[in-house]
Amino acid sequence: MTESMLHLFEYEFFRNAVWAALLASVTCGIVGSYIVARRMVFISGGITHASFGGIGIAYYLGLNPVTGAAVFSVLSALGIEYVSGKTNVREDSAIGILWSLGMALGIIFVFMTPGYAPNLMSYLFGSILTVGKTDLRLMLGLSAIIALFFIRFYHIILFIAFDEEYARAHRVSVSLFKYILISLVALTIVMNIRIVGIILVISFLTIPQSTANLFTKNLRLMMIYSVIIGIIGSLSGIYTSYYLDIPSGATIIFAFIIIFGIAKAIQAARTSAGIRRQIG
């Protein structure tokens, strides 16, 4: 078994997949913890679908759809932040509105583009087994930016997320930070969708974080644990998928869910043991 595991590394697609799993774990581990803490997991769906508009416009103008998706995702992220900040619309509703608007724009531009319509969705469905070198390089860059940004500004990010009003009272540039953060979130989502596909992105953004959250209530630890759980889950998912000869996206998700289940069981056992000891 070990032998054939190693032999897989001869294939570039496999090396790339492992890299993609690592980079997705890092970026989604960090960004996902922030998203989960702020209760805005919904943004993953919102950004994805809003960026659809960007693909449509890019296609219509004959530009690179991926660039279109990236630009538009950041714009719609800024739009979400703006709408929920300036009007009294709640964040999840703002996401819903931008989600619809993006898709409507996408449809209209595809419609206006002469000839057979492109399958815009195909731009959003990547597979971890067909990741390209360029994407990996871009992801590496993004991972570095995200890691540095979150390390450098960890506390201010934490404080703003926890109590925005208080941060404003302390005259911190809350809006600036929120705009930067949501842009990073958008980029993370778009980039990861490109390399692992939309389904896996949502898993990477929520399941390891929820698992980590069972054991720690510290955002920094949550980020670290999520990265680790992400790596373990995705690598074991990839290997399982090889041995069972089934698609790796699904096995990675199953691996995450199994890890979550085990963690939940451990935590429950611990708690009840603790209570029994204290009541004794």
């Binding site: 496999f14 449809i107 057979y116 195909s122």
Partner: protein, 274 residues
Amino acid sequence: QSITSEGEKIITVSTLPQKTIITKISGDKFSVNVLIPEEGNHETYEPTSRQMAETGKSMAYFKLGHLDFEINWLGKLAQNYPGMKIYDTSKDLDLIRGAEVQHGDHVHPGGVDPHIWLSVSAVKIQAGNMLKGLIELDPGNAAYFTANYNRFMVELDSLDAQIRQTIQASGVREFMIYHPSLGYFARDYNLEQIAIEQEGKEPSPRYMSKLITIAREKQIRAIFVSSQFSKQSALSLASQLNARVEEFNPVDADWMENMLDIAGKIAASNRQMP
């Protein structure tokens, strides 16, 4: 305006190539409305009101046969237009399908490869079905349709010969494709379609490693990909195989020209491009 003038007879088909094909037979006797369902674009596919109005006035719907769109939407359309006849152009066709599987108390047939317009031999059968339908709709013009049909059959025979010749001359025995839309084409010309998405399904790592071994063995130089889809995944694989990505449009309106084009691209697919 675009709503057809009084007295004109309308029929509706699913895709653009189908329109080209049926017009060969129907000539100017029918106005042909296309719903243009975009493959895999279901989240966003939407006909316009006008297309729907035309569909409503149609005497008949000539369905391609096994498009997801038709399986899921045609039932609703039929409910809306009880007077509209529905013809299945894939009737009597030797379909590529999965094995039948026994599930406890019932058997269900494997899924059908829907890309039947990308094959000359299959289109011949479809044309026959279309002819039958058109005659039924407009018996008065039966002779006209039959003449058109016969002329079209001759064209198809020569097209078939041309493609066969091109493929044979090239010595190509197999080609690699991302989304397997050329299954019928491959069957017609004794080619092997090596699909990355085997049967339209996401590849597993083991299948991927097999694929790469085979591709190296057979010296694959091109990966075919539909121009409607993102090329990203194909590009990444191509770079690993030292191959190129070859785009083709499975739903080009100029069907005959397109078939030749596809044949040409396949014939050239084992060659290293400069």
